[in-house]
């Protein structure tokens, strides 16, 4: 898969949650182009087109970043902060998906500009339903920042 064609960047260090999320998205035919980053550092490399992702273009951001909160190396809140503080990445929709029940995490997330904040359910079926609704909302109902017109402009600029 060309990493410039990614629809969803899934950032999670739990293999179980990654497997469940991919299964739910694919069952609904919602996303075949998912890139997985297993910690915050890898997510930042991907989003800021550096390190192993230096060939990526800022002009082709993912339509959605699904971001876990507690991760090794760099945590989700720090990833969110860097993404929303940089004009090159600020417009990328970021949804925090976490098992944290701490209200202060949610408030910090919204204050830092997260697009939405969700609590991961513990129940398998509820988790699958949640991922399905996330996919439907962010890939079908929502208008991502890079539209066909803008994509055309980006293509010309390359």
């Amino acid at each position: 898969m060309n990493s410039n064609e990614v629809e969803i960047l899934l950032v999670d260090d739990s293999q179980d949650d990654i497997d469940l999320t991919l299964h739910a998205l694919r069952a609904e035919n919602l996303a075949n182009r998912v890139f997985i980053a297993r910690d915050g550092e890898e997510a930042l490399d991907f989003l800021f087109c550096k390190g192993p992702h230096a060939e990526r273009s800022f002009e082709k951001p993912p339509k959605l970043v699904l971001l876990d909160l507690k991760m090794p190396k760099v945590d989700g809140m720090e990833v969110l902060k860097q993404v929303k503080n940089d004009p090159r990445t600020r417009t990328i929709p970021v949804v925090l998906m976490t098992s944290s029940r701490e209200e202060r995490d949610m408030v910090s997330g919204y204050n830092l500009g997260v697009n939405s904040y969700l609590q991961k359910p513990v129940d398998f079926d509820q988790f699958r339903k949640m991922v399905k609704l996330i996919g439907l909302y962010w890939l079908v109902t929502n208008q991502p920042p890079l539209t066909a017109t803008a994509a055309g402009t980006a293509k010309q600029a390359q």
């Binding site: 600020r90 417009t91 204050n111 079908v140 929502n142 803008a150």
Partner: protein, 149 residues
């Protein structure tokens, strides 16, 4: 989690407000909906000033872009610059599909952007989708955060 959700719809077209209320009545009967028709009224409502001093804080705002007096982007910018209102999720709901409107909305901190559909079936479906995601799934900030001075 708050059981009754408070939604503010900002739209200068009363017919669109009526449609949104009708759609939400079907899928979210317990949702309390308030509406205003221009950007100045929207900020007065959210800041509970003037006629709106006793208004309940909103959990979610659905904001049109083309509004009289003060446009939707200006309302959005004012909300996201305000420590009291910044946390409230804002859904831009506009007929505009111009890439610059979409991009500018995200730059200013819109939580998402939904194009207002031109036909009734799709309009109801969009409202249902908004309700399912934001009231059924998302964790919304506590109202205390919006009222804390």
């Amino acid at each position: 989690m708050n059981s009754v959700r408070h939604l503010l719809i900002v739209d200068d077209n009363p017919a669109d407000i009526g449609l949104a209320c009708e759609a939400l009545k079907q899928c979210a009967p317990s949702c309390q909906i308030n509406s205003v028709e221009d950007g100045v009224e929207a900020l007065a409502f959210l800041n509970r000033r003037g006629n709106y001093s006793s208004a309940l804080p909103a959990d979610l705002v659905i904001l049109d872009l083309n509004l009289p007096k003060r446009g939707g982007l200006a309302v959005l910018a004012a909300m996201k610059a305000s420590p009291d209102l910044r946390c409230i999720p804002v859904i831009i709901f506009s007929t505009s599909q111009l890439s610059q409107d979409v991009k500018r909305s995200y730059e200013l901190g819109a939580n998402c952007y939904v194009c207002k559909p031109g036909n009734l079936v799709e309009y109801f479906a969009a409202m249902k989708s908004i309700e399912q995601f934001w009231f059924g799934l998302a964790s919304l900030p506590p109202r205390g955060e919006q009222t804390k001075q």
